[in-house]
């Protein structure tokens, strides 16, 4: 799993991501995120990397306040 920045233009992507959610209801936003995760996972492909990403997301979730 890459932990260093790999995005070509991180601020620009972050803006696009937020813009993509604009005007969506919270249910639509959740579904959007689910579809996006599946699309991006298919770009990654590698099973071991995906497993590490799942674990990292889980750890960060448990550490952060909800």
């Amino acid at each position: 799993m890459k932990t260093q920045l790999h995005l070509q233009d991180a601020d620009s992507f972050y803006e696009q991501l937020l813009d993509a959610h604009q005007g969506l209801s919270s249910a639509q936003s959740e579904l959007f995120n689910a579809r996006l995760i599946l699309l991006l996972a298919n770009q990654v492909g590698d099973g071991r990397v995906l497993q590490e990403c799942l674990t990292a997301a889980r750890i960060a979730t448990e550490a952060a306040p909800t």
């Binding site: 790999h6 601020d11 972050y14 991501l17 937020l18 960060a60 952060a64």
Partner: protein, 569 residues
């Protein structure tokens, strides 16, 4: 000269500022009745600058340095803001390089504070830090990455410098109350303590700030955005100083988990910015009692400090669709307004002024046609739009909309504690840079980048810097040719410098033999690196230390680049 009496009177005033209860005592400059007052005929001036803030004074000083006459009109009789605190506090390497060329850098360096370390916190955890000194991009310039200093000090130094240089008529207590424009010139009505007069101008530079009347007078179209984010800005003098670093909190426990900025200035004054509740009542959140309460929460119950100034801010952004309308050029806050994240306000105004000043000088000296001035809009509008976009992204990170925007920010902060990549997404301000020009008709695709003020060696071995060469070129283009040149190339260069406003320097390694050109040595390749070229190459540098173009062979492409750079073809 008309301005001579004003200059000699004003130099009797010092540039010393004193603390008094509630702020600084700023220097004042006297109103001196201009010759137009009481005269029936309006005098036409080549350049009238409206506003003696950092942008207008940089413009005036850059013109004065080139011997170009201008009139500056300012409604106030002082630098800074009545009230009185600093607006901008943080000056970039590019601005400092410009100030070095103008001759006030040493005064700024002596008064200001250098810093290079920034730290960002979420809650009690440091999320990331940077040290600009370790970033090679900043290292080679004669100027540091940043100096923090109250804006009015720089403005005061510029006034001093303009008075030393002459050529510019600084008119204080002079408010522009009316404006009309015809083909080729504008007429301004100026109100003064001793009555009104009219003045004509071939070129009007509007540097009068965010409340400019020129937008209305010129029917200027613009894009604006106003959010509900509210901040309280407190300038504070501490008995025990915090570290000389820039600290930012995304979620500060001592500010109800809202953002806080902690940044320093000269005279041991610190600027602390507190993010408030959305749509908070400005009078309440910026009361001194409230600020003292917040300071005790942040620095401990025993903190000893004096509040120099406190005020509420509602950030907004605005950008004109065009920075040039008829005879009027918009610059600084009249061109665009950004939230003050990353020092992209005042520094952009300084660069606006430096961009237009050399072009106006070239046109007025007959070295370039008026068409050159169109590139001001192309280049500085691109810079304005980029700065608005970058600061709006920061504003959005710091005040996310409820719902998914806030969820993503929480996710970023959570991941950032462990994973370096997510730290790059934490956006507490992207520090200002010299904006590149990608859409300029006067830059080739190889140009448009800023050239750092790096060092080289003169032939006698003594050190020089890029600004020395620009000074030597005296408003002309500066052509640097790297390495040995063929006899044919030497002949072409001689011809080019004979027919066009270009001065040429050959840049050689430590031991290479000199040829029939002016020569400097670049043993470590710093000059070459600053010009973004390698090996045998040439770089065409403009008076604002931007590249017009670079290339390899001394051929017709170089000639075309020179023509484009001055809008000659």
């Amino acid at each position: 000269m008309d301005s001579a009496p004003a200059a000699s009177q004003a130099t009797a005033f010092t540039n010393d500022y004193e603390f008094s209860k509630g702020g600084y005592d700023l220097p004042t400059y006297p109103f001196v009745a201009p010759p137009e007052l009481g005269s029936k005929t309006a005098v036409r001036h080549p350049i009238v600058i409206v506003g003696a803030g950092i942008t207008g004074l940089t413009m005036a000083c850059a013109l004065a340095r080139q011997g170009i006459a201008a009139v500056v009109l300012d409604e106030d009789n002082s630098v800074g803001v009545k009230g009185a605190s600093s607006r901008g506090i943080c000056y970039t390497q590019k601005s400092l390089e410009i100030f070095q060329r103008l001759g006030i850098y040493d005064r700024i360096a002596a008064k200001g504070i250098q810093w290079s370390v920034g730290r960002t916190f979420a809650g009690n955890d440091e999320v990331y830090s940077f040290d600009l000194r370790q970033q090679s991009s900043f290292q080679l310039s004669a100027q540091p990455p940043f100096i923090n200093i109250q804006q009015f000090y720089i403005e005061g130094f510029l006034v001093q410098r303009i008075q030393e240089l002459g050529h510019v008529d600084l008119r204080w207590g002079s408010r522009v109350a009316g404006f009309t424009q015809q083909d080729g010139f504008a007429t301004l009505t100026v109100d003064t303590p001793q009555g009104s007069y009219q003045i004509e101008a071939e070129h009007v530079v509007d540097a009068s700030g965010s409340h400019t009347p020129f937008h209305r007078w010129c029917d200027a179209a613009m894009q604006s955005r106003r959010g509900d984010d509210r901040w309280c800005i407190a300038d504070v003098r501490f008995k025990n100083l915090p570290p000389t670093e820039r600290h930012t909190w995304i979620e500060a426990p001592f500010n109800d988990n809202r953002a806080v900025w902690q940044h320093l200035m000269a005279d041991d004054v610190w600027r602390i910015d507190y993010q408030m509740e959305p749509d908070a009542d400005p009078a309440l959140v910026s009361s001194e009692a409230e600020v003292h309460k917040r300071l005790r929460r942040q620095f401990g119950p025993d903190v000893e400090c004096e509040i120099v100034w406190v005020g509420p801010y509602a950030y907004r952004s605005q950008c004109l669709d065009a920075l040039h309308i008829g005879s009027v050029y918009f610059m600084g806050d009249t061109a665009k307004i950004v939230s003050p994240f990353g020092a992209r306000g005042g520094n952009t105004g300084v660069a606006d002024a430096d961009n237009l000043a050399w072009k106006l000088a070239a046109v007025l000296r007959g070295r370039a046609p008026a068409a050159l001035l169109e590139s001001y809009n192309q280049e500085r509008l691109e810079a304005a739009q980029q700065n608005v976009q970058v600061t709006n992204r920061t504003a959005r990170f710091l005040r996310p909309a409820d719902g998914m925007e806030r969820v993503f920010r929480t996710a970023v902060i959570g991941l950032a504690r462990q994973h370096p990549f997510a730290r790059q997404l934490v956006n507490t301000g992207r520090m200002a840079v010299a904006n590149p020009y990608s859409q300029s008709a006067i830059c080739e695709s190889s140009g448009g980048l800023s050239v750092q003020n790096v060092f080289f060696h003169w032939v006698d071995g003594s050190p020089g810097c890029v600004n020395d060469l620009i000074q030597w070129a005296d408003g002309r283009l500066l052509l640097l040719v790297f390495g040995d040149q063929s006899a044919q190339a030497l002949q072409r260069l001689a011809e080019l410098t004979r027919h066009a406003p270009v001065r040429c320097v050959q840049v050689l390694g430590a031991d290479t033999r000199r040829q029939s050109l002016e020569t400097v040595r670049d043993p470590q390749g710093h000059l070459q690196g600053a010009c973004h070229v390698f090996g045998h190459a040439w770089a065409l540098v403009r008076p604002d230390a931007y590249l017009a173009a670079t290339g390899e062979a001394v051929d017709s492409a170089l000639v075309r680049a020179v023509e484009h750079a001055l809008a000659l073809a």
